[in-house]
C-alpha cells in the first residue's frame, strides 16, 4: 500500500493537483503524420482528435496501443523510402545560434523562477474553472514571462547530458503552448469537456463551437483557426452526472 513513502492506512496522503493528461497536441492524421512531411507524432504529444473535449480514464491507452503502433509503422515506412532530407543551411544555422546564445549568456534569471510562476499562475487563471478576465490577465502575465525568458540563464555549459539546457529550451516551449491555450480558451465562449466557464458561458454551444481549435505559430505569436469535427456514430450529449 506504500505510495511515495506513505501507507495511507496509517497516514494521510499529501494531495496536490497534477497533470493527468495533456488534451490536445500536435495535430496528426490517423497514421501520426503531422502537417510537416516526414514528421510524425505519437503519444501524449500528438492529437489524433479521438477524445473530444475530455479524455475519459483508460482511453489514453489508445495513444500507445493503437496510434503509437500506426505512427511507428508509418514513420518507419516513410524513413525507409526517404533516406535523407534536405535541411536549409540557414535553418540549421539559426538553431545553432539559438543554442549558442543560451549557452554563452553569462548571467540572467534561472529557468525555475519563470517555470514556477508560469505553473502557479496558469493553475490560478487557467485551471479548472475559467473566466474571461482571468484568462486575459494571464495572457499579460505570459507576455511578461516571455520577456523575462529572453534573459534566461543556463548554468551547465557542458556537452554531456545537459538537462539544464534542455529544461531551459523546454521552458520556452511551455510559454509558447501556454499562449496558444489561452488564445483558444478565450475564443471558445462556451463550456465543453474540460473547458469549463461556469460564470460566463456555462453551456455547450454546438452551433458556434462544435469544432476543433487549431493554432499555428506565425511570426511571433499564435494564430487561431478552426477545423470541422468529423463525427460518425457517437453524437455529443449532455454530461448529466
Amino acid at each position: 500500500m506504500v505510495f511515495a513513502g506513505i501507507d495511507p492506512i496509517y497516514e494521510p496522503v499529501p494531495v496536490r493537483p497534477g497533470a493527468h493528461y495533456h488534451m490536445g497536441g500536435v495535430e496528426t492524421d490517423s497514421d501520426g503524420l503531422t502537417e510537416l512531411t516526414g514528421l510524425y507524432a505519437a503519444g501524449e504529444v500528438a492529437c489524433v482528435s479521438v477524445h473530444g473535449a475530455n479524455r475519459l480514464g483508460g482511453n489514453s491507452l489508445m495513444e500507445t496501443i493503437t496510434f503509437g503502433r500506426r505512427a511507428g509503422r508509418a514513420a518507419a515506412e516513410w524513413a525507409l523510402s526517404h533516406t535523407t532530407i534536405e535541411v536549409p543551411e540557414a535553418v540549421e544555422r539559426d538553431a545553432e545560434r539559438e543554442l549558442q546564445t543560451l549557452l554563452e549568456r553569462e548571467s540572467g534569471e534561472r529557468p525555475w523562477q519563470i517555470r514556477d510562476e508560469l505553473g502557479s499562475t496558469m493553475l490560478e487563471n487557467f485551471g479548472v474553472f475559467r473566466e474571461e478576465q482571468k484568462m486575459l490577465r494571464q495572457l499579460e502575465i505570459i507576455d511578461d514571462l516571455r520577456e523575462r525568458y529572453e534573459n534566461v540563464y543556463v548554468e551547465d555549459k557542458g556537452e554531456v547530458f545537459n538537462s539544464d539546457l534542455t529544461q531551459a529550451i523546454e521552458l520556452g516551449y511551455l510559454l509558447d503552448v501556454a499562449a496558444c491555450m489561452l488564445q483558444a480558451g478565450v475564443a471558445r465562449k462556451e463550456s465543453r469537456g474540460a473547458h469549463a466557464r461556469p460564470h460566463d458561458y456555462p453551456d455547450r454551444d454546438d452551433e458556434n463551437f462544435l469544432k476543433h481549435s487549431i493554432t499555428r505559430w506565425v511570426d511571433d505569436g499564435p494564430e487561431l483557426s478552426h477545423k470541422d469535427v468529423r463525427m460518425t456514430r457517437w453524437q455529443p450529449e449532455a454530461r448529466t452526472y
Binding site: G5, N162, D164
Partner: protein, 395 residues
C-alpha cells in the same frame, strides 16, 4: 512545514573523467521525496547536476539511483525519516551500468538484454482465427501479475551480484520480463523461450543473493521470477545446466533419505570428471572439518513427511512455476499480517477507518456516478457485444 535536507552526491563527468563527492543542503517541504530535493538542488544551487526524471509518481522508471549504496527510485524515497534521523545520505549513480554524467547511467546494455528476451507476446496456434480478440480470464493472468508490474527502472540490475562477475548475464529485469511471457496463457513460444533463457548467460547464472527482490521498488521480485523460470525449465525437461541438476538433486535427496547428501551433490551436478578434479579441494575441506570423510548412509526419521509433501505437490499438479506462485500467495498473506478475524484499522496507530461505498454511514454515491473514471459496461469487456448506453446519457 519545511525541513533542512543534506545530501552528498557523487558527481561525475564522462567527458572529463572528473569525479567528486559534493555536499548540498537545501530547505524542502516535509513531504519532499529525494527527487523533489534533487530538483531543488538543481534549480537553486547547482544547475549542472544531472539526473533522469519524468513522471514523479513511480510509473516511468526514470529516476533509479543509489542511496547509501543501494538502488532506489528517487520519487518513491521520502526524505523526512532520513532527516529526522540526522542522516546525510550519499547519492550516486546505479551500479552495473556505465555512468554518463552524475546520476545518469547509460541504459543501452539494459535495453539490449531486455530486447534479447523477446519482450512481446508471440501467440501460439490456438488463437481465435477469425480476427477476434483473444480474451482470457483475469485469474489466468494473476500468476504473472508481479512480473507485469515492472517499470524498467534498472534498480534490480544495479544491485545484481551475478552481473558483476558476468556482465553478459541476462539479469533480473530481463528474466522477470521473460517469465511474464512464459507464464502468459496466450504465449506460443514457451519451450523455445525456456531454451533461450537456459543458455550460459541465462537463469542459472543467478547467485540467489536476493538483492533484486530487496531493491525492486515495484514488488516484482525478479529472483522469484528466475526461480519460476527454473522450475518451468525442469518441468519442460530442460535440465542440461548444472543449476538444474543441482536443484533436482536437492529434491531427490530430500525425497529418498530426508536429508541432503552433500557428498553426492558434486558428482550428480557436475559429473565424475569434475569431481575427481576437485578431490584435492575436498581433502582440504575434510582436513579443516568442513566435510565428513566418510558419509554414513541413513534415512531421516521423518522422511515420510517429505515424501508426503512431494506426492501432495504431484497430486495437486502445482509443479513448475505454479508451485512457487502458490507459495508466494500464502507468504504474502502472512507478510501482510493477514488474519481473517483481524482488521487493519484496529491497530492503535492506524488512520481513522474510511467509508467504503455502500457501507452503513457512508455518504451517498451520486446517481450514475463513476468517480469520473468513465464507466465499464458489459460491452467493454465482451468482444462483439453492442455497447450499452447509460440511461441518463453521459459517457
Amino acid at each position: 512545514m519545511a525541513m533542512r535536507v543534506g545530501l552528498k552526491i557523487w558527481r561525475y563527468d564522462s567527458s572529463t573523467g572528473d569525479r567528486a563527492l559534493r555536499e548540498y543542503e537545501v530547505d524542502a517541504p516535509e513531504e519532499a521525496t529525494l527527487l523533489d530535493v534533487l530538483d531543488i538542488v538543481k534549480d537553486r544551487v547547482d544547475g549542472t547536476l544531472a539526473y533522469r526524471k519524468s513522471c514523479r509518481m513511480m510509473i516511468c522508471g526514470s529516476c533509479g539511483m543509489r542511496m547509501d549504496g543501494g538502488a532506489v527510485l528517487a520519487c518513491k524515497t521520502r526524505m523526512l525519516p532520513i532527516v529526522e534521523a540526522g542522516h546525510v545520505p550519499v547519492i550516486s549513480a546505479m551500479g552495473n551500468l556505465p555512468i554518463v554524467k552524475d546520476l545518469v547511467v547509460d541504459m543501452s546494455p539494459f535495453w539490449s538484454k531486455f530486447r534479447a528476451v523477446g519482450p512481446w507476446l508471440q501467440p501460439g496456434y490456438d488463437q481465435p482465427q477469425d480476427g477476434r480478440e483473444y480474451v482470457i480470464a483475469q485469474e489466468r493472468l494473476n500468476h504473472v501479475h508481479k512480473e507485469a508490474l515492472c517499470i524498467n527502472c534498472g534498480c534490480c540490475v544495479s544491485e545484481c551480484n551475478a552481473m558483476e562477475s558476468d556482465p553478459e548475464f541476462l539479469g533480473p529485469q530481463a528474466l522477470a520480463k521473460g517469465f511474464r511471457f512464459v507464464g502468459d496463457p496466450r504465449e506460443g513460444r514457451v519451450v523455445e523461450r525456456l531454451e533461450e533463457y537456459n543458455d550460459e548467460h541465462g537463469i542459472w547464472q543467478c547467485t540467489r543473493c536476493y538483492f533484486c527482490n530487496e531493491r525492486c521498488p515495484k514488488g516484482v521480485d525478479p529472483r522469484d521470477a528466475i526461480a519460476k523460470l527454473g522450475a518451468e525449465s525442469v518441468k519442460a525437461g530442460i535440465t542440461r545446466d548444472m543449476g538444474a541438476k543441482h536443484a533436482l538433486w536437492f529434491a531427490r535427496s530430500a525425497e529418498t533419505t530426508g536429508w541432503l547428501r552433500e557428498e553426492e551433490l558434486i558428482p550428480k551436478t557436475q559429473g565424475w570428471v569434475s569431481t575427481i578434479k576437485q578431490m584435492k579441494f575436498a581433502m582440504s575441506l575434510m582436513s579443516h572439518g568442513k566435510a565428513r570423510p566418510v558419509p554414513i548412509p541413513h534415512t531421516a526419521a521423518d522422511v515420510d513427511e517429505a515424501r508426503k509433501l512431494r506426492s501432495l505437490v504431484r497430486e495437486q499438479g502445482v509443479s513448475g512455476a505454479m508451485g512457487i506462485v502458490q507459495g508466494e500467495h500464502a507468504l504474502a498473506a502472512l507478510g501482510h499480517g493477514f488474519e481473517p478475524d483481524r482488521d487493519p484499522y484496529d491497530r492503535e496507530d492506524a488512520f481513522p477507518r474510511p467509508y467504503l461505498p455502500g457501507e452503513n454511514g457512508a455518504p451517498p454515491t451520486p446517481a450514475g456516478g463513476d468517480a469520473g473514471m468513465g464507466s465499464r459496461t458489459q460491452a467493454d469487456v465482451t468482444p462483439g457485444a453492442e455497447p450499452t448506453r447509460k440511461p441518463e446519457g453521459g459517457a
